[in-house]
Amino acid sequence: MSKHFSLRAIALPLLAAVALMSACSAPPPPFNATEVPGLKYGYGVELTDTDDKPRRIEDFRGNVTVVFFGFTRCPDVCPTTLMRLRQMRASLGAAATDVKVVLISVDPERDTADALRAYVKHFDPSFIGLRSDTKNLEGMLRAFHSVAVRVPAADGSDYTIDHSSSIFVYDRKAELRLLAEPNMDMTLLAADLRRLVAEGK
């Protein structure tokens, strides 16, 4: 009985010490989304917001910025993503102040500043719509290592656009840190964003 007791008396603090030591040396747990090493995707690209003000992705420094591609005539998956991001951002509470959500149009020809503003603000007044010059769409996409392809309707009257689905998350230094897919569990993405917000300004 007493032998048993003494063993436990030694083993427990020993275990606790080992746990503490390993906690100190262990790398931070991985993010839920795919981590990338601080890339500068989209740098130097001249975009304009829906008030026709010039914006560059690197100007969002200081915020945690969630960027994805879409277009206003996309009635299914783009609204779904916007709605999920709205809920996700709302779940962040006070941390949401430093989180910006940006939709970059892959259809600047039809997505006028007015159309894009009405579309993104409908989901969340804080959401930001950005457009590239129609002549620079290809260059913009290349800078973001993304693609968008026009697919004409069967009768040629209309077109839809296949586009990169990834959601880009930039940290406070405006460096690309995370890649997420739009169907990712938003509570997991929210946890990642909290960590990036906590990294400090």
């Binding site: 996309c74 009635p75 609204p79 779904t80 009405a118 209309d158 296949d162 689905s165 897919e181 169907n183």
Partner: protein, 153 residues
């Protein structure tokens, strides 16, 4: 041998049940559309198609006074690309199956809306099936803040 007997018995049972409920055959459930943002001329609609019979069917056409055209679409995410495709050959509805049209997946695309889709409003949508003929259901417009409208596959 015994297996063959069991399966033929099962087939006979299925045949019987299909005769029993051949009357409507297909049911439509949870018809809903998403409210549109100002200026948006296309909308998305979702519904569950239930085939309670042992015979496959095919959804050929969809129409509604709410839009000039209602297209059956499929959204897919493959190799990092988001794609939306028109299903031109009709949508096959297997026997004894539920086919769910839902966000981020198969959906109805309401093209050239007659007027904006406003939360709480509803409108009729007619479905034409190869076997079961025409069926009409009401679609209710849901706010873009509602939970069922964000469900993702």
């Amino acid at each position: 041998m015994r297996n063959a007997f069991v399966s033929s018995l099962f087939a006979a049972f299925c045949l019987l049940t299909s005769v029993a409920d051949a009357a409507p055959g297909i049911a439509l459930e949870g018809g809903r559309a998403r409210e549109t943002a100002p200026g948006q001329t296309v909308g998305a609609g979702y519904v569950t198609i239930i085939n309670a019979t042992a015979t496959p069917d095919r959804l050929l056409r969809v129409a509604s006074p709410a839009a000039a055209e209602v297209q059956i679409h499929d959204t897919s995410m493959q190799n990092g690309m988001m794609q939306m495709r028109l299903i031109t050959a009709g949508l096959s509805i297997p026997a004894n199956a539920r086919v769910e049209l839902k966000p981020g997946s198969m959906h109805l695309m309401l093209v050239r809306l007659a007027k904006p889709l406003v939360t709480g409003n509803s409108f009729p949508v007619t479905f034409e099936f190869e076997r079961s003929g025409r069926l009409v259901t009401q679609f209710t417009v849901e706010s873009t803040g509602s939970a069922s409208a964000t469900e993702h596959r």
